[in-house]
Amino acid sequence: MLQIELLSKSFDKGKNFALKDVSFHLKQGDICAIVGESGSGKTTLARLIAGLETPDQGSIRIDGNMVSSTGRLVPPEKRKVGLVFQDYALFPHLSLMQNVVYGISKDKNKNERAEEILKLVGLKELKDRYPYELSGGQQQRVALARALAPNPSLLILDEPFSNLDSMLRMQLRNEIFEIVKNTEVTAIFVTHDTQDALAVADEILILQNGRLIQKDEAANLYTKPKSIYVASLFGNTIQLSSELQSAFKCPLKEDCCAAVRNENFAINTECEHVTHARVLKKTFLGPDTRLLLRLENGQQLTVLTKDKIVEDGIIIGFNSTDVLQFTS
């Protein structure tokens, strides 16, 4: 459905790459999340697919049609891609109905279609309102309705929830992707939030500094991250430095780097690798407590724990199956 080969883009004539040699494929109906920090190139990737930027190299095919290559560039209006912008980009001078009809104005029964899609997002009653009269969540849903109205072959959502507060965000996220799944459109969801990605995507792409680090199902990413960066996207991860390795008596091969997720550290329980530690400082963080520890060999270590009561002297450790190993 979507095939991307060796896509590269630089905004400063090759000094820095916003995107470098990115290749991946998507199947019809996939919902894929692109995860990365700001500056990782995820928005550039989305804009390249939509046709809003011109790549320096590489090709993009949608539905088997070459839409972008070194020699050819299909303009965005001919790509049949839907895009929901971070700032929604609703047309401020048009009513909701007019916004949604905008992309399907050539259809015969455009009004029925628009009403149907507004109903889908639950805003049919507000169809004559203007964007500034709506809440952020409502605007979000209009943006989605507008993007879906022309039946795009591919839907891209660029950080759609970043402007919303966290309560609304969860609720809306589920609602929105319920709608997306029902329409069976292939979707790309660009986000910096791994939780969002895990919640909705079949497959996740991790971008770092313009490079595609890993593309995999959510479970695989968690269990077999290819780098400590990927691992840490799913929560606090502690890298096993050589000092920590010696403290926990868990030596590793030279050219290999390893880490343990915070949640895999166990306090006062049987583990393969343990050490004594003194609690230097406790910070209450609601569900978790942050502990600053001094280990036997003098190393300091910060971990989070769900245990509410912790004595000053503890035993801390982890199992060797929980050690994540990456070739550096």
Binding site: A50, Q57, G71, K78, L83, F91, P92, H93, Y102
Partner: protein, 553 residues
């Protein structure tokens, strides 16, 4: 494999390939448009290569220092004056409540309605021996001591007082949008009104102020009528002198090039300064302006401060013109003035329409071309404003006559008849010249409003399957129409007032009010110029008042 691919990603070969791919019709159209705009400049600029004329040395030795000195003096004096008047008045009318504030808001723009050379004539008339001031003083039995305004300080005053509204308008737009939030924030931090203004508002308003200031300075450097009457030698009078009195276009071109580099230098200086501080543009409009109500005494002071520039820049000169108009009405006024006003209006209207269209095309075509370098080059289209009108006129004639000769040959060969000049000497050439000259006036306000529209809005239209042009009309146009309208009105106003270019390029039978006023004034019948001048003011006043309502809304 991958490595090899990316290594020569920016090799000449790959770049050319991409260039071919990315060269779209928009890029080509942008270049074509720019070519048209640049044609007159280039046709004059070519003369730079033929070396300066034989009098260049003479000018260098005797005059250049004077030109540079006077022009810089004017630039600094006027610059200081317009910033002071423009910023203070706009601040007062946006921050304080006082009697007649609403009326003053548009009265402050009206000095723009009077061509600055007319202001110069009327001030000279007021302060002259036997002038209005002396007559008034005589009524009160007071002794008249003459204030000599006909020197460079006087010229700076006249230009400053008639041009400050450019800064007033641009800084007021900023104050209306931003000042309230900023002042509130500043006051929460316990900083007083005056200190907040200087520490916070002024630096933030700088881009807006400078945008207006640059227009003023270009007008100042370009002024011919007032400078010549006051006997001040500036670059522009020098250009006229060497081109026409000494009959050496080459030397004039050298002077023009120098003048343009001064203007360019000013623009670059500002850009460079500004680059250090990037202000994020607060796009959300403020929640209405809250004006302070102050004590009666302070209201009085504020009123005086705001009335003064209106009085000096508009009411006094107009009063003088009305007096002259009253004296000469019987001899001058005839029904032909109606036709004249009509023609002026028609030409200005049409020109404004075309100029605004070209400005929009240039801004949007370069944007659609998705080439950053083109976007920057497109900005060069505004340089025509820095070139004296007469020089633009000559610059237009050279290529149009060239095209004409060519056309004439074709027509002669095809139809065996002898046509006259086809393009030059018609309205086409005149309007073409106006467009080149006034593109900047249209370009800036349109670009400013276009920048306020987030790119994602037209982008989403594209993604929804609507092409560029249709997107423009359905989405961009409704969102930037205030900018377009202000641009339209500003160009309209400038064209009605324009003089040297019109004189040279106007076709037979076509006449404008400004030309008529000049015909009288240039032959020392200044008083008789009052009627056409008043008609100019009348024609320009209504759109300006309309513009104000647009900007305040």
């Amino acid at each position: 494999m991958k490595q090899a691919g990316s290594k020569n990603l920016f090799s000449i070969n790959n770049r050319l390939k991409r260039l071919k791919r990315d060269t779209n019709k928009w890029a080509i159209l942008t270049l074509v448009l720019l070519g048209f705009i640049a044609l007159p400049v280039i046709s004059i600029g070519i003369k730079l290569f033929s070396g300066p004329g034989e009098t260049w040395g003479h000018i260098l030795e005797n005059l250049l220092l004077d030109y540079i000195g006077n022009s810089l003096f004017l630039v600094f004096m006027c610059g200081f004056m317009v910033v002071f008047l423009g910023v203070s008045t706009s601040w007062l009318v946006t921050r304080f409540e006082f009697p007649f504030r609403k009326q003053l808001e548009w009265l402050l723009i009206l000095p723009l309605a009077i061509p600055s050379y007319i202001v110069a004539y009327s001030y000279a008339g007021i302060l002259d021996y036997g002038g209005s001031l002396e007559l008034i003083l005589r009524v009160f039995g007071l002794e008249f001591s003459r204030i000599d305004i006909m020197n460079k300080t006087g010229l700076a005053f006249v230009l400053g007082i008639s041009l400050f509204p450019y800064v007033y308008v641009s800084s007021r737009a900023f104050f209306l949008n931003q000042a309230n939030n900023l002042m509130e924030a500043s006051k929460m931090l316990g900083v007083g009104e005056i200190k907040s203004f200087f520490k916070l508002i002024l630096p933030l308003a700088r881009p807006a102020i400078v945008a207006g200031l640059i227009l003023v300075l270009m007008e100042v450097l370009n002024d011919y009528g007032a400078a010549r009457y006051f006997g001040v030698n500036t670059f522009t009078t020098g250009i006229f002198r060497s081109w026409f009195s000494l009959a050496e276009p080459e030397t004039a071109v050298y002077l023009s090039a120098l003048l343009i580099s001064i203007v360019f230098g000013l623009i670059l200086l500002e850009k460079f300064q500004r680059r250090k501080i990037q202000f994020s543009n607060n796009r959300s409009g403020s929640a209405g302006i809250q004006r302070r109500t102050v004590s009666k005494g302070l209201q009085c002071v504020i009123s005086c401060a705001v009335w003064l520039p209106v009085l000096l820049g508009f009411l006094i000169p107009v009063a003088q013109l009305i007096y002259w108009g009253w004296l000469t009405y019987d001899n001058v006024f005839s029904s032909s003035f109606l036709i004249l006003s009509f023609q002026s209006f028609g030409i200005a209207f049409l020109t404004a329409l075309i100029t605004v269209t070209v400005a929009i095309a240039l801004i949007y075509f370069s944007k659609w071309s998705r080439s950053n370098s083109l976007k920057n080059i497109a900005k060069l289209g505004v340089l025509g404003y820095a070139i004296p009108g007469a020089v633009v006129a000559i610059g237009i004639m050279i290529p149009t006559i060239f095209i004409d000769t060519w056309l004439i040959k074709i027509v002669e060969a095809l139809f065996q008849i002898q046509p006259g000049l086809i393009i030059s000497g018609t309205l086409i050439a005149l309007i073409y010249a106006y467009v080149v000259r006034f593109l900047a006036v249209a370009f800036n306000p349109i670009e400013a409003t276009a920048l306020k529209v987030s790119d994602s809005i037209p982008d989403s239209s594209r993604i929804l399957g609507v092409g560029n042009i249709k997107t423009f009309f359905k989405i961009d146009f409704p969102l930037i129409k205030t900018g377009i309208l202000s641009a339209f009105i500003l160009v309209f106003t400038d064209v009605i007032k324009e003089l040297p270019l019109t004189l040279i390029l106007k076709p037979f039978q076509v006449n404008t009010l400004a030309v008529k006023a000049y015909e009288y004034a240039s032959d020392e019948m200044v008083m008789k110029a009052a009627i056409p001048s008043l008609l100019i003011i009348l024609t320009v006043m209504l759109p300006i008042i309309f513009l104000n309502r647009l900007l305040v809304k």
